[in-house]
Symmetry: C2
Subunit: 545 residues, 2 copies
């Protein structure tokens, strides 16, 4: 008894057409790399998407399934690229601007990008490696002055490309399972791996995350998209904002804490997203230079790494702004879970609530989670039993680009995240560690994430990263790298051990502490533990407290 | 470049499994027909769905695609039927208990129901026509005392049916385009027409309407489902509540204003749905007997007929409770649009805001609207040009059950609603009338809905229905049926004409007014204009003011 409901493919064109039909009066505000402010409406953006679609198909010869790269900050034209490229049936491949030259070269050649749209200020990063690109036919310059000079071959200006194009374009009929976007994993464990998103997965991810249990996004919001558009499609926000009619504020390269705070204030931003290090920086800056008025910002959504409980606590106590923890991966589009309290938690003491809010939260409808123990059996949902987190869902990838039967996928069709987690009886998932970052000491597991979260709540500590180091007696022992708030006011090893003893068993507490100026981070702002372990192996981590 | 996202069908089983995995602690509260209160958890309901699935497949021989009827009020077991029946791949056909015996007989035979689940208090309605049912093999009694006596053949008790069944059941793999539910239109214009919903349409409709721009439904809500489960799947709320973790309150036959108010107060209900006549009744009762404390009720969602501006106004001024207008049809699952104000309206005067809130609102993502003029061209989005509203979308039907090429569908794939509407430049749709209820007088159109809405805001008038009557000079003229607040305090014709002259042109104002005790209504609470026209033709409407 099939087919009595209309065949209505869920595509990015559906999202764009919807946004234009009911929210054409909403704004996209960009703070350009040079600091100037640009504002236009969804309706203006829509027309330019159609001009871009004409240019892509008629001037650049882009056809269905072609890969089109972007190498750019967050701004209006980058939104147009999201919709224009996927609208004509091509794939919008957002290239991470923070990867090494070698990784970028690999990615561009592996994806077979035909055109790359590049921000003028980022051109120097490509000029060196452009001769190695095997498939790129031309480069289109974004936000470039007229007299811009570059050694990139076959360049044109974005505004020239679309200027004389018609604002009419009939979107082709697309299969909702066709690819619309592509990102590569950040490659901390080897070569970056390509992940293709479908029109359907992009639509469902964005549409689901509007709900009040999730992102709680509406036409009353003004959203600052701090998460880069080159980082898992800015967590889907460019799509969510068109579906919900939220004003979008794009910071481009204005990502320093003081610049972000200025934007938050001037645009009366109500919601924002970002990795924890961004919010640690914003908090520190607000503490140093308290804003004169309460910000309009209600909450900030954090993913990428665990949101430290102390940051949730401080931000809310000092400024009345809520931290909301989410979890996801490039392979999960990215959002898979989000943490909000429920009525059943309302009577809990503040500290107990904080503990729940520091979890990664419950899955969205359309996402399933399970915990697989080392012995290959499923862990109970008891909030204690650890094992590898595995995911299945309507926006989880089933394979990497150009690969088959990758070890990250189970035979029964689940994605192996590499995260070690627990799930409690209400479905709240809590990441204890990355599989490869867990510390096994004297036969017992120690969570580096739990230690880091505790250490960072110590008043003298600004950042903390814990890794496993080899130990003759215990096989492995934890080593803690610390960035101090004030190098004139050092904690002692003893002091830290006593501090951690409030929450940890003796065997779990590091005996070795090393002071560092900063913790090495990956291109997406996570602790780069591979790099830390390398430094340790090379004898570079020696500055004991 | 297909298939790099997992194949994850959107089914009612996905909804049920999700609700159980993260919201098993949430409640379903039922006020049974005898007034007793029953409470259990989503987790309990889940287990009973699995027991039901075993019983359906093993005891009743239900297989994929079979039609299973329900003839019941809103209550926990009816929710179990929604999930249990569609979970095994059969179709949950909810039969409207308010149809005539003849219509019910037609529907049961047309749909080919194999089993009917029937509430004990509704059994008398079926006993008379059961001998005419051609395909029904047995009847399962809901909420029936052990010693219940009936002339229905082959009966069993629901609790006996599921009692000894296992709580384990492996849901079959279903195609998301398979049918999961079925409703018939109320048949005001001929024989009722069957509408099949797919698993996918049901999932997408429910998931989309959680958003803050739409139903704004979360785990913080306690929702009273007044809209009957036999009326377009209770507007999708049984699915929405499992996706959002909202507590569900089911009133069964306790639908009188005082009973509803008691439930609203006792259960601290935050949101509810219903047709305007329900809310007119609740308002009147609250006015007569004001509750001692402010209700927890934040807003009531209205559909089925236009929400009168005066009711929005009065409910909010007197009790601080917001009326939210929505629009939909059996053919659109049902919700297609919903009306909320946006930030751009914040500075408008109160009366202007009211005028917008009395519109049917903007489409949801996944729904498209257009207005087709009489001459077959599209109307501009100017908020003025009237024409027939046509709909397309992910949860709009493409055909009626057992029919082909029905006149309600255009050649280019849109559904013709039969509503006359305008759409303004921001996408706000406003229904002026049903095509067949429009009055054409002296070559000009008169909207019966606009006249009714204005008349009901007159202090002496409780209800107003306007129809066209033949007129020798003008072809048609409007006739207004009025229910008075107080028959001792009659308005005069003159008084009403002067009152309407504030908003209407002279030719639009009725000169004929008839007093009635009540306005005839259809099975779903809409004005039954077919019946009114019949009464007029038979000379029964003669009681002039």
């Amino acid at each position: 008894m099939n087919g009595l409901i209309m065949d209505y493919p869920l595509t990015t064109n559906t999202i764009l057409e919807y946004g234009n039909s009911v929210f054409h009066h909403k704004k996209i505000i960009t703070y350009l790399p040079n600091g100037t402010r640009h504002e236009y409406l969804f309706g203006d953006m829509y027309k330019r998407c159609k001009q871009l679609a004409n240019a892509l198909t008629q001037k650049l010869g882009i056809t269905k399934g072609d890969m089109v790269g972007t190498f750019a900050w967050n701004h209006g034209p980058h939104i147009e690229l999201y919709y224009g490229i996927s609208g004509v049936g091509a794939v919008c491949h957002t290239i991470n601007i923070r990867l090494s030259a070698q990784q970028t070269e690999y990615i561009v050649n592996n994806s077979e990008d035909k055109v790359i749209f590049v921000d003028a200020t980022l051109v120097p990063l490509l000029e060196k490696i452009a001769p190695l690109f095997e498939t790129v036919e031309c480069f289109v310059l974004l936000n470039a002055p007229k007299d811009f000079v570059t050694t990139l071959p076959n360049t044109m200006h974005y505004e020239d490309l679309i200027a004389d194009q018609s604002e009419d374009f009939d979107w082709p009929t697309l299969d909702e399972n066709d690819a619309c976007g592509m990102c590569y994993t950040s490659g901390t464990t080897g070569l970056p791996k390509g992940v293709l998103y479908s029109h359907r997965s992009t639509f469902l991810h964005a549409s689901t995350i509007l709900a009040p249990n999730a992102g709680n996004v509406s036409t009353r919001d003004i959203i600052l998209l701090i998460v880069p558009q080159f980082h898992v499609m800015a967590w889907g926000y460019p799509y969510m904002c068109l579906l919900s009619g939220s004003d979008m504020v794009m910071p481009s390269s204005n990502l320093k804490p003081d610049a972000l705070i200025k934007i938050l204030i001037e645009e009366k931003v109500t919601k924002a997203n970002g990795v924890p290090s961004i919010w640690l920086g914003v908090y520190d800056e607000m503490k140093k230079n308290p804003p004169k008025e309460k910000l309009a910002l209600e909450e900030y959504l954090v993913g990428g790494s665990a949101l430290p409980m102390s940051l949730i606590d401080n931000f809310e106590r000092d400024f009345g702004i809520k931290g909301v923890q989410a979890w996801g991966m490039t392979e999960t589009s990215p959002l898979g879970t989000l943490c909000r309290l429920q009525p059943k938690h309302d009577q809990l003491p503040y500290q107990e609530k904080l503990k729940i809010r520091a979890k990664q939260g419950i899955a969205f409808p359309g996402v399933e989670l399970r915990i697989m123990k080392d012995d290959g059996t499923l862990a109970p949902k008891d909030g204690k039993t650890m094992g590898e987190l595995q995911v299945k869902g309507a926006w989880t990838v089933s394979a990497y680009f150009k690969t088959n039967n990758h070890e990250s996928f189970t035979k029964d069709g689940w994605f192996k995240t590499g995260d070690v987690s627990t799930i409690d009886e209400d479905g709240y998932m809590h990441i204890t560690d990355r599989t490869k970052d867990l510390i096994k000491s004297g036969g017992e597991w120690i969570s580096s994430v739990a230690l880091e979260s505790a250490l960072i709540s110590h008043p003298k500590i600004k950042e903390a990263a814990v890794i496993a180091i080899p130990d003759a007696k215990w096989v492995e022992r934890p080593l803690a790298l610390l960035v101090l708030n004030n190098t004139q006011d050092r904690p002692t090893d003893k002091e830290l051990i006593a501090f951690l003893a409030q929450d940890f068993a003796k065997y779990q507490i590091p005996t070795d502490y090393v002071e560092v100026d900063e913790v090495p981070k990956t291109s997406v702002g996570k602790f780069d533990k591979k790099e830390i372990r390398k430094s340790y192996a090379e004898g570079k981590l020696t500055k004991a407290l």
